[in-house]
């Protein structure tokens, strides 16, 4: 078994991080320009995880939220740095296990990523927002569970599931489509299992 967490911390990986953060930003921008009811702000994190491995994915995710939090004043984003970190880590691990090669594997990856996001976000939502997420559909679910006298944690959990899981499924499928189209000379930069062959 190859080491899942093996990471190349060379210049290529370092350059990948800001590019991925930029892609996250673009995803969010396009989603708002097209008025889609999704966030789509973790495309870059997933690409980082799939190309560079779990460690780079985690760094991409955390750095994304930290940088935006500290420069655009969006301190709410800052809180979810942990969620992004989790998504990057999980997608990276799944990619290293070879799940991003086929569509079925990509679906599995997206479910794992969505689940990670839900598990990390739910406590954060409860602590900082009393359970709401700020997304219309999710909050409608939350309001319904509260009206039915269900516990806050369960309501918040369902709130997150409704919002995060479809979002992550679409995100990872987009990432899958993009990765399939990348040229080999680029993906080879991040291949950890390469070896130099001598002709002598």
């Amino acid at each position: 078994m190859k080491n899942i967490f093996k990471t190349k911390l060379n210049t290529a990986s370092l350059v990948l991080i800001p590019a991925c953060i930029g892609i996250n930003y673009l995803g969010k921008l396009f989603a708002s320009v097209l008025k889609l009811p999704l966030w789509l702000d973790s495309i870059g994190t997933c690409i980082g995880g799939a190309l560079g491995g779990p460690i780079i994915g985690a760094i991409c995710g955390a750095a994304n939220n930290l940088i935006y939090g500290f420069t655009t004043g969006d301190s709410i984003t800052l809180v979810y740095a942990l969620t992004s970190l989790g998504i990057g880590l999980v997608v990276g691990i799944m990619a290293r296990l070879g799940k991003m090669e086929k569509v079925n594997g990509a679906l599995l990856t997206s479910l794992a990523g969505g689940l990670a996001a839900v598990l990390i976000s739910t406590p954060l939502n409860v602590i900082f927002w009393g359970g709401t997420t700020g997304n219309v559909w999710g909050d409608a679910v939350f309001a319904a569970t509260q009206a039915a006298n269900l516990p806050v944690v369960l309501g918040s959990f369902l709130d997150e599931v409704v919002v995060d899981v479809p979002d992550k499924i679409i995100t990872v499928l987009i990432v899958f489509a993009i990765l399939k189209g990348l040229p080999k000379k680029l993906t080879a930069l991040y291949d950890v299992n390469d070896s130099v062959e001598s002709l002598d």
Binding site: A12, L14, A19, T71, T72, A177, L186
Partner: protein, 255 residues
């Protein structure tokens, strides 16, 4: 090109303050009010932030920041005012909707916390140049590689938004529909984003080569054009804030 940073270029005492002092203030405002756990503690820090923002002449830029979070705060008031489990005492009634005191107090506490965080961050964000922050971090011993990652985000994002506009126009001129019902809009997402993502990922390879040629991996210690030392006033302020946090712990234990 529009920068994503919100830094306002004004020469006030806030912009001259060392970035670390402002970071210290964020930490104090958030941690001390949470530790003290009293509504007046939140009010004090919100007040201090407001005074700083007004005296720094950047109050106008704060409103869009806060306006964004207001929709979320309103949903919190609605949901908890109407449905919180501890709701017992009726506060007021709007038609068929009954708002309860316990839920409203809970929502008020959350909103104070959020408002406090937003304002404390606004003080930092609106008065600190990202490039300066990166330089100060590097001088304080952070790896220049981390510094590179942070500062290059600020170069890459405006570049990418530029590419995004180009691609949007290009695809539209080929007949791609970007307006209409949800399915039409969703369908146009992939043709729009994939060219930008592809080109920016392919660019990373050239960027990596360019950096390596310029000695990015060299382990030599670098010198700085600007020496960002903490002034005496910065040190005093940091000390005061440490005292405030200690005071908050006392408040928590005693009261």
């Amino acid at each position: 090109m529009k920068s994503i940073s919100l830094y306002v270029d004004k020469d006030t005492y806030l912009t001259r303050m060392h970035p670390f002092t402002k970071l210290c203030y964020i930490l104090t405002a958030v941690v001390a009010s949470l530790i003290a756990g009293k509504l007046w503690a939140f009010a004090i820090f919100i007040g201090i932030s407001l005074v700083m923002l007004i005296s720094g002449k950047i109050m106008k830029k704060v409103f869009p920041l806060i306006a964004f979070s207001f929709t979320i705060l309103i949903t919190i008031f609605l949901i908890h005012g109407l449905f919180n489990h501890e709701n017992a005492n009726l506060m007021f009634q709007l038609g068929p909707l009954k708002f309860y005191r316990e839920g409203m107090m809970y929502a008020l506490r959350i909103s104070c916390n959020v408002l406090n965080m937003l304002l404390a961050f606004a003080v930092f964000v609106l008065t600190t140049k990202p490039a300066e922050l990166v330089e100060d971090l590097e001088q304080a011993g952070f790896s220049p590689k981390i510094g590179y990652v942070i500062s290059s985000v600020f170069q890459i994002v405006p570049q990418m938004s530029g590419t995004m506009n180009t691609i949007m126009d290009a695809q539209r001129s080929r007949g791609l529909e970007t307006e209409g019902n949800l399915i039409t809009r969703a369908k146009s997402f992939l043709p729009l984003i994939s060219p930008v993502v592809m080109s920016s990922l392919i660019n990373t390879r050239e960027r990596a080569i360019a950096l390596e040629i310029r000695g990015f991996e060299a382990g030599q210690k670098k010198t700085y054009l600007r020496e960002g030392k903490m002034k005496t006033s910065d040190r005093v302020l940091c000390l005061v804030m440490a005292v405030v946090i200690a005071g908050a712990i006392v408040v928590r234990i005693v009261f």
